[in-house]
């Protein structure tokens, strides 16, 4: 069965013989379909209008009270130093305009972020204790959690979904009837939003070998890419804040794991965006005393280069919409 396909090549090239990765659009392949973006400040459960589990991608809006682990791993022996974290950075970690990918780990709990079930979507912005007023705990949390919800099911389903809006441009997979096919099975359905790539590139942060005095203040270094979009964009990979440096992964910035805190290497790394820039920030800590309270000496950090291969999307974090109802 023949079928129509829409192909748009990259500038200066013909669609004939072009590699799949070099198309601006090729409806031979399915485009992800975002049916809703929602931002919540508190723990929220919303009905799942699709009736089946689907993808959800969350971003945190950070502030000075956002969860951020300042502790390190338990020392391997009584004579090893504890992590010592001090300095001006502690009062200026985030100003309220930064956004980062929500990793359940970086926010301190598996319960945080979006959990999608057949009939509901649970989005949690967890509180944590940031201090005490006498004996009364004071709680802090992120400013908000913004979530993009995708229409594609995470498994088989026989459900159909109702989407309004006309006229609509649709392209079905090969051999399928575009009129009879459910919206989430179309390769292209113009009634949904999709991920729109703005730019990819590499952001590098070079860290010198340096020695921080015993109980000295943290050393902070930052690399930025000025995206200039004027709003916080969604980005990939799912790098977040407060990552244990030893989990950075390979030199491609292929973030494989987000273990919170300073870890065994007395360092933490933040990746986040604001309306102007994409950031990599390194915070290096010093040695504290050992388990007996004895002085342990300065800490030397090795020279290191962090490299992040990033994708920035035109999609704006926190720009809410609902394409099933509007």
């Amino acid at each position: 069965m023949s079928r129509p396909v829409i192909k748009i090549a990259k500038p200066g090239r013909s669609v004939i013989g072009l590699s799949p990765k070099d198309f601006a659009l090729n409806t031979k392949y399915a485009l992800p379909k975002i049916y809703k973006q929602v931002t919540v400040e508190d723990d929220t459960i919303i009905p799942n209008p699709l009736g089946y589990p689907h993808g959800a991608w969350c971003f945190r809006r950070l502030n000075k009270d956002s969860y951020y682990s300042l502790g390190g791993a338990e020392p391997a022996s009584f004579w090893e130093p504890y992590v010592h974290v001090s300095g001006p950075i502690l009062s200026s970690l985030f100003t309220g305009n930064e956004y980062t990918c929500l990793s359940s780990t970086s926010s301190g709990s598996l319960y945080a972020g979006a959990t999608v079930r057949d009939n509901e979507i649970e989005i949690r912005n967890l509180e944590h204790i940031i201090g005490y007023d006498g004996g009364t705990p004071i709680y802090g949390k992120d400013t908000s959690i913004s979530t993009a919800l995708f229409a594609e099911p995470l498994g088989e389903t026989d459900k159909d979904i109702t989407v309004g809006g006309n006229p609509v441009l649709k392209v079905a997979p090969e051999g399928r009837d575009v009129k009879a096919l459910e919206a989430y099975r179309q390769n292209l359905d113009g009634r949904f939003d999709t991920l729109k790539i703005f730019k990819t590139g590499e952001l590098t942060l070079s860290l010198p070998e340096e020695t921080i005095p015993y109980m000295g203040d943290c050393v902070v270094r930052t690399a930025t890419f000025n995206h200039g979009l004027g709003y916080p964009p969604m980005y990939f990979p799912p790098a977040t804040v407060n990552m244990n440096l030893s989990t950075w992964g390979n030199t491609h910035g292929n973030i494989t794991l987000a273990v919170p805190g300073f870890g065994y290497d007395f360092s933490t790394v933040d990746v986040y965006v604001d309306s102007n820039n994409l950031y990599i920030r390194s915070i290096r800590a010093s040695n504290g005393p050992d388990a007996f309270g004895s002085e342990t000496g300065p800490r030397t950090h090795p020279a290191l280069t962090l490299s992040l291969h990033y994708t920035l999307f035109y999609n704006e974090i926190g720009s809410d919409f609902d394409l099933l109802t509007n």
Binding site: G55, A56, S104, L110, T115, P237
Partner: protein, 105 residues
């Protein structure tokens, strides 16, 4: 010496060969009902680490918990590796768009 100890769960790897010739963008999700000691249901994006329920370890005389990990990474330009405790169900969307060296850089 620690009041608490964390014990890493045994993790398993599964490779997926996509043969794209570049490291792709990946959005992956885990079925929490299949995730060892998570005690949750529903689907959540990975990667992450998590703690199982605490238990008293009589050998150490301390409280302890198991720590699990669910993650993916590109082993090379043609292979993605998924890592998780045994019997974990993961679904991934793999994009043709490369994570770097794309034409729009």
């Amino acid at each position: 010496m620690a009041w608490y100890q964390s014990n890493p769960m045994t993790l398993y790897k599964k490779e997926y060969t996509h043969n794209l010739g570049s490291e792709p963008i990946v959005l992956a999700y885990v079925d929490l009902s299949t995730l060892q000691e998570s005690g949750m249901t529903g689907w959540k994006q990975i990667p992450f680490t998590y703690s199982g329920e605490m238990y008293f370890d009589p050998d150490w005389g301390t409280w302890a918990w198991d720590v699990g990990t669910v993650q993916w990474y590109s082993k090379d330009e043609n292979t993605i590796v998924f890592v998780a405790p045994k019997n974990t169900k993961i679904v991934a969307d793999i994009f043709i768009d490369p994570q770097y060296n794309a034409w729009y850089e």
